[in-house]
């Protein structure tokens, strides 16, 4: 039969059927669980703890690193943007200081100045002079803006108020995004004029564009109202409003984290650019920034998982192995205890039987002699020779004495082999008959038919008679237990080869299920635990057969019967120090 391969260790389903000194000392399942839990606990928990700490520490360091790098980038860019604007403002300041109002009125001179500014600084598209009333008096540039009235424009009011102004990016009259820088110059007569220049946003945009922000980064300017001043990768083109609120004012570079409209976490660095309406913003995908850290983390996590798996496997393996060993050792201990107890019991029974037989034999001998004497007296005296009734009575007494003598002799014979184990010559047939003699009454009451087939020429065995008796007794008892009343028991012996004999004990009882056949010789394997079976009978028989140097086999068909076959050497191999004499008992 192909048993399904099971990973379940034997101790798992162990049920303690014994009590008292035979009780198992351990709760194997509990020990196993405790061992696994404890060892797994003390190995895995510190590991997890360390991994967690490491995660936290490196996360903190990485966050700090991101903040620092972003802040530095924002601060550098702010400086560049700031410098770009104020460089141009300073150039205008110089133009105003260096040229008189009259000279600036001259379109030729103004055009010359614009050309110089373009060449020296770049980014300038036009240049105009606005008088104190807000009218553009002179203009050089690509648009027709001479005479335009700026008195109601915000930038004009601002420059009049503050002396210098950098505007938002706006479309203005020309409907092209641009920004303007204007500088006010006071005249000695108390009046003033303003020089304004438009700055090409293209130049301005490319300034930001050149900044390194990494693959998915975004760098752009907004004004205080949150309107985009340069194109943004995330939020759209110039003059659109960004969806997130304008960051809170700060005179220093700041880095905050929030989520983009799509839900991806972003790292946002920003800085208010002093004296301008601009806020510089740098947005980066956090995922991209922490990618290397994440990768390292994943590797660590993988390593952790593999380590835990290996640790668990080793712990499970070792714990199972050790508990299995413990279980086996304990099983053996209990089995040994049982065997010793059985041996003691058998020895006690033997001594008791011998004592009783002896005590009965003496009075029996007296009855025998007295009755014999009476018979002798009759015979020699010839007085009662004719009295057949008296002779019959005496014969009755003498026959009963003979019957008693047979019983006591059988008891003595059995008992005297019980307590000492020595290799003696024996006839197999006699030994089998001796054992059957003990079970004679049972066979009679249960009307079990016993057939014995032992060839006459079977050689004499050199063997420990008590062990052979116990083996046979156990096997026959087993068969009896398996049979219904009126069953058949057949015992046969054959000469297997020159050095071995085979003895078979066959019954037509209930048989053994195929699945149990392999296990019947295992200690504590019993199908009758509820009826008081210990599951030791056959295991002890197995042990006894081995001690005699033989082996035992079993064949069975469920419902049809069982055949136990023992193969024994003609001469038992002598070996010293056999502690356990064995036992009799059920299956």
């Amino acid at each position: 039969m192909a048993a399904p391969i099971s990973l379940k260790p034997k101790f798992w389903d162990h049920r303690d059927i014994a009590a008292g000194p035979y009780k198992h000392l351990f709760n194997f399942r509990r020990i196993w669980k405790l061992t696994v839990l404890l060892t797994a606990g003390v190995t895995i928990i510190p590991l997890l703890f360390m991994a967690f700490i490491d995660y936290k520490v490196t996360q903190k360091a990485t966050e700090a690193e991101i903040q620092f790098r972003t802040a530095r980038l924002v601060s550098n860019t702010r400086r560049a943007v700031s410098f770009f604007l104020f460089e141009r403002a300073a150039a205008l300041e110089f133009v105003v200081q260096d040229n008189s109002f009259e000279a600036l009125h001259d379109p030729v001179r103004l055009a010359e100045l614009l050309k110089h500014l373009k060449e020296a600084f770049g980014g300038f598209t036009d240049l105009g002079v606005v008088d104190a009333l807000g009218g553009q008096r002179t203009y050089v540039g690509p648009y027709e803006l001479e005479g335009v009235d700026y008195s109601h424009e915000v930038w004009y009011q601002q420059v009049v108020e503050r002396g210098m102004h950098v505007s938002d990016v706006f479309l203005g009259f020309r409907q092209v995004p641009h920004l303007i820088i204007a500088v006010k110059h006071s005249l000695p007569n108390g009046s003033f004029f303003v020089v304004r220049a438009s700055i090409d946003t293209q130049e301005f945009n490319s300034l930001l564009f050149d900044m390194e922000v990494g693959g998915l980064g975004d760098i752009f300017l907004i004004n205080h109202q949150g309107i985009l001043q340069t194109p943004s990768r995330f939020y759209g083109d110039v003059l659109q409003k960004i969806p997130s609120p304008t960051p809170e004012f700060s005179d220093k570079t700041r880095v905050v984290q929030h989520e983009s409209p799509e839900g991806t976490p972003l790292v946002v660095g920003y800085a208010y650019i002093t004296d301008t309406p601009f806020i510089l913003m740098i947005c980066k995908h956090k995922r991209e920034l922490i990618e290397s850290w994440t990768r390292a983390n994943m590797q660590l996590l993988g390593f952790l998982a593999v380590s835990i798996l290996i640790i668990l496997l080793v712990i499970l393996g070792v714990a199972t192995y050790l508990v299995e060993q413990l279980h086996t050792a304990d099983q053996r201990r209990v089995a040994t205890l049982h065997q010793v107890e059985y041996a003691n019991k058998m020895a006690s029974i033997g001594r008791l039987a011998a004592g009783v037989a002896h005590e009965i034999n003496n009075p029996l001998a007296i009855i025998n002699e007295k009755a014999g004497l009476i018979k002798d007296l009759f015979a020699f005296d010839q007085r009662y020779e004719e009295d057949e009734k008296l002779i019959r009575l005496l014969d009755g007494i003498l026959q009963s004495v003979a019957r008693c003598a047979t019983i006591t002799r059988r008891l003595l014979n059995f008992a005297r082999h019980m307590d000492d184990s020595q290799v003696v010559p024996l006839q197999l047939r006699e030994t089998i008959l001796e054992v059957l003699g003990f079970l004679g009454k049972e066979t009679e009451y249960r009307s079990i038919a016993v057939s014995l087939q032992v060839p006459e020429d079977l050689p004499e065995l050199q063997m420990d008679r008590s062990k052979l008796q116990q083996i046979l007794l156990n096997l026959i008892n087993n068969s009896f237990a398996a049979m219904r009343d009126g069953g058949h028991l057949s015992i046969g012996a054959t000469h297997a080869d020159e050095k071995h004999v085979k003895v078979s004990v066959a019954d037509d009882g209930c048989g053994i299920p195929e699945g149990d056949l392999k296990r019947v010789f295992e200690p504590f394997f019993s199908t009758k635990t509820k009826q008081g079976g210990t599951g030791l009978g056959l295991s002890i028989t197995y042990g006894l057969v081995q001690e005699l140097g033989g082996h035992i086999d079993v064949e069975s068909q469920l419902g049809k019967g069982t055949v136990f076959t023992i193969t024994l050497p003609l001469t038992q191999k002598r070996k010293g120090g056999e502690a356990n004499a064995g036992a009799a008992g059920g299956r």
């Binding site: 011998a354 037989a357 002896h358 005590e359 009965i360 034999n361 003496n362 029996l364 001998a365 007296i366 009855i367 025998n368 002699e369 007295k370 014999g372 004497l373 002798d376 020699f380 004495v401 003979a402 008693c404 003598a405 002799r409 003595l412 014979n413 008992a415 005297r416 082999h417 307590d419 000492d420 020595q422």
Partner: protein, 124 residues
Amino acid sequence: MRVLLVDDEEELVSTLAERLNMRGIEADWATKVEDAISLVGETSYDIAVLDIKLPKMSGLQLKKKLEDLRPKMKFIFMTGHGSEADFRTGAAEAGEAFYLVKPVGIEILVEKMQEVMQSEGKRS
């Protein structure tokens, strides 16, 4: 043939002695070791039938003592006890055939006695 029966059961030995006498075998009996020794000292017996278990002394020890007195004497053991050790030593002393377990039929006992007498010279 003169026979000495030694057993602590007086009822047994006295009856047995009577029956043997009826069969023409001169039989004396003793229930104590001392009596047995003194009887052997006085009379020359051919055979002694001894119980293995006797008060104060075992049948085997008694056999040695009696042998010292009468080296030619033969022995048959009769016992109610059948331990392996008893059997083996008894059988070794007297020969397996002359180790009898009680109760013993009178015919068997007489037969054994005759056998013992015929085996003269083989054993001391």
